[in-house]
């Protein structure tokens, strides 16, 4: 089923890293704090020019026909760089929603999302931040061939910067429905997050009407598509966490090799060195778990692999970020240092699209259910 990617990751990665070094420096990351949309237009324009927004979109919709693994290379670099902006939201999640949705909505929006001329987002989560029908708080009442939407979607990524929103709702019978809504007709309110590198918002629907041609999926199709978005969202939160953890380890190792105390670099002390070794073990184990999940998800559904990777990466990155602050000492605890940004980003990755405990419980249900049937 899987198509071998034509993109060489060992070539793509340094290109992305180089672009981000120029256009997403720590100073740029901090300048974006004050931008309520957090859109960071120059970086977005560069990504569009380089064709990154179309990497994962099929060629007949104007994309490069790449894989989730190709997108993950970019996404991990964005995590490393603490990058603001809607790349994963639009080019991964919304593109996935459109690609898996009905023909009319797909042909209308996907080419624009691939070209980057439109930024799209997904409003698929409710109060607890999971993408699941039992968490969704938007109700879709059938109205002609389309629906009328009432309710609130929460934790919507890049809600303010998006021109189109893929909304998950439930119909009066409790079935999920996915529709594409022009953001002009809805009210997006930014939510101030502790992680200043990202933008989440609340999107309220107050009787918004959507036509039948804007329906992405309903019934069983919607169940499948929502599950797919939940797993792609979880997997890419894990990818972001991997990037964060990698970078924290690099910065910490460099610092430990330079910072002198007792006339020695602190990294020559075993207490510090061994903690760095543990950070590396966390990073490398995260890498194999995340790569495996992304690979399997590219071939089809992979809930067990995604839950493994999400629980693992979320906890590992939070641990690594905490160790990074500890080993930097007082300077790592200051606002001017980047360590707290990595920690906040890692902590948000840990909870987005289901926290570690939720994923472990799901994993248990996936793998142990047959074993507790009465014998």
């Amino acid at each position: 089923m899987s198509v071998e990617s034509a993109i060489d990751h060992d070539e793509l990665r340094p290109v992305v890293r180089g672009v981000l070094a120029r256009e997403c420096s720590p100073a740029v990351v901090r300048d974006a704090f004050d931008d309520p949309l957090g859109a960071h237009e120059p970086l977005w324009a560069t990504m569009v020019d380089l064709g990154w927004t179309g990497i994962g979109v099929a060629e007949d919709h104007g994309g490069a026909g790449g894989s989730l693994a190709d997108l993950a290379v970019v996404a991990a670099e964005l995590g490393r760089a603490l990058a603001p902006g809607a790349f994963v939201t639009s080019a991964v999640l919304a593109a996935e929603a459109l690609a898996g949705g009905a023909d009319l909505a797909r042909s209308r929006w996907l080419p624009a999302v691939a070209a980057g001329s439109v930024r799209a987002t997904v409003a698929v989560t409710g109060r607890t931040g999971r993408a699941a029908a039992d968490d969704v708080e938007v109700v879709a009442t059938p109205d002609g061939g389309g629906y009328r939407l009432e309710g609130t979607a929460r934790w919507v990524p890049d809600a303010g910067a998006a021109q189109v929103v893929m909304v998950a709702a439930t119909d009066p019978d409790g079935w999920p429905v996915l529709v594409a809504v022009d953001s002009g007709g809805v009210g997006a309110t930014p939510v101030a997050m502790l992680d200043p590198t990202r933008r989440l918002g609340t999107v309220a629907f107050d009787g918004v009407r959507v036509e039948g041609d804007a329906v992405l999926a309903r019934g069983d199709d919607a169940v499948r598509l929502l599950a797919r978005l939940a797993d792609v969202g979880a997997a890419f939160a894990a990818v972001d966490a991997l990037g964060v953890a990698e970078r924290v380890l690099e910065l910490t190792t460099t610092y430990a090799g330079e910072r002198m105390q007792f006339d020695r670099p602190i990294g020559s002390f075993q207490a510090v060195k061994h903690r760095c070794a543990d950070m590396l073990i966390s990073v490398e184990t995260t890498r194999v778990a995340v790569d495996h999940a992304i690979g399997r998800l590219g071939d089809g559904d992979a809930p067990a692999e995604v839950s493994t990777a999400k629980a693992w990466a979320g906890d590992a990155a939070a641990l690594v970020a905490g160790a990074g602050i500890q080993l930097h000492g007082g300077i790592g605890y200051t606002w001017e240092h980047d360590m707290h940004l990595f920690q906040k980003r890692a902590k948000l990755d840990q909870v987005l699209y289901g926290d570690s405990r939720w994923h472990l419980r799901r994993l248990a249900d996936l793998i142990f259910s047959p074993a507790i049937e009465p014998t």
Partner: protein, 402 residues
Amino acid sequence: MIDDHVVGLDDFRHQVRSWCEEHVPSDWKSSQHSAPGHEVVAFQRWWFQELRAAGYAPAHWPEEWGGPGLDLPHQVVVHEEFSRASAPHLGAFLISLHHTPATLEVGGTDEQRRRHLPAILDGQLWCQGFSEPNAGSDLASLRTRAVRDGDTYVVNGQKVWSSGAHYSDRCLLLARTDPDVPKRKGISYFLLDLHTDGVEVRPIRQATGQAEFCELFLTDVGIPVADRVGEEGEGWRIAQATLSAERGPAVLDLAEEMRSALVSLIDLAGRVSLPGQSEPALADPAVRERLAGFHSEVEVLRLLCSRTLENLLRRGGAGPESSIMKVYYSELLQRLTEFGAELAGIDAHLDGRKPIFSGWTSGRWLIDHIGSWEWTIAAGTNEIQRTVIGERVLGLPREPQP
């Protein structure tokens, strides 16, 4: 329940699976359980020949060594299927199949390879004589002396932690040939025939109750110059190849063994109840969450193992990142066996033994847990490994030398 990681070798997998169905003795665990050590060794020798005849062992040996010449995905399938079939372990052959060929590959002559590799295929057992009472983590300070006298070295000293020496024919031996140069430079490498006069082997009983390790006392032992590996003074370098062997293809077996252990653990959780509960432990949310956590960790171990081996094949020779494998494996083993003992409850404390060379996950959970320290201590303690990772992988500054 637990996925195979290699896809697309279905025909080969079916072939291995049906071979296992036909050949794995159904009663081997019970028949081996209380067998004395020499019977265990004889059984494993027989099983090794069965595997050889079928072309599955030594799975990682290339054709030029007389092995089946399987590529890595085929090796993974072999180990996955052996694990699925709960096939007997080849614990007695660890050094013979991994350390000895890795050593001879790096430091041996064609003549040495021609002499020893076929003997191993015929069932010869090897052990390792590296550590000494005063040279454990600081291996380079070893004091066993080898003094050349014509075509022979005369060796005196004491070795310790030689696993399986009491059943072995030969020993990978490090001894000091030059005491006047810096300690790593004065070490040479020998292939000692354990049947030589002056070699005394004394088993050591371990915390698990088994006697798998031995002390070696060497008194005026003669070793022919032809049994030296490499030049004089090259012993330390060649020993690195020996040590990296256990972080090479040997880990495939360990990773798949851990997968079997997880299956046993889940099975246990389905059979036992927690104190004061009537439902199986597997219905308890906290137990389920911990088991799911172990499932993740075992999956990560298997993936890490494959990644390490891919890198090894690409570059030739295990890099220091194989230390990551060792630390991760051994600490997971410790936690997983501890949870097994916890689930088994007070029954796990009933006196019991496991046969020697039976691996580290026999399903006697408390014994396995106690035995797991063998992995966190042996082959360079995890503290040493973390220093190796810090210095050689991350490039952190070395500890100042006194």
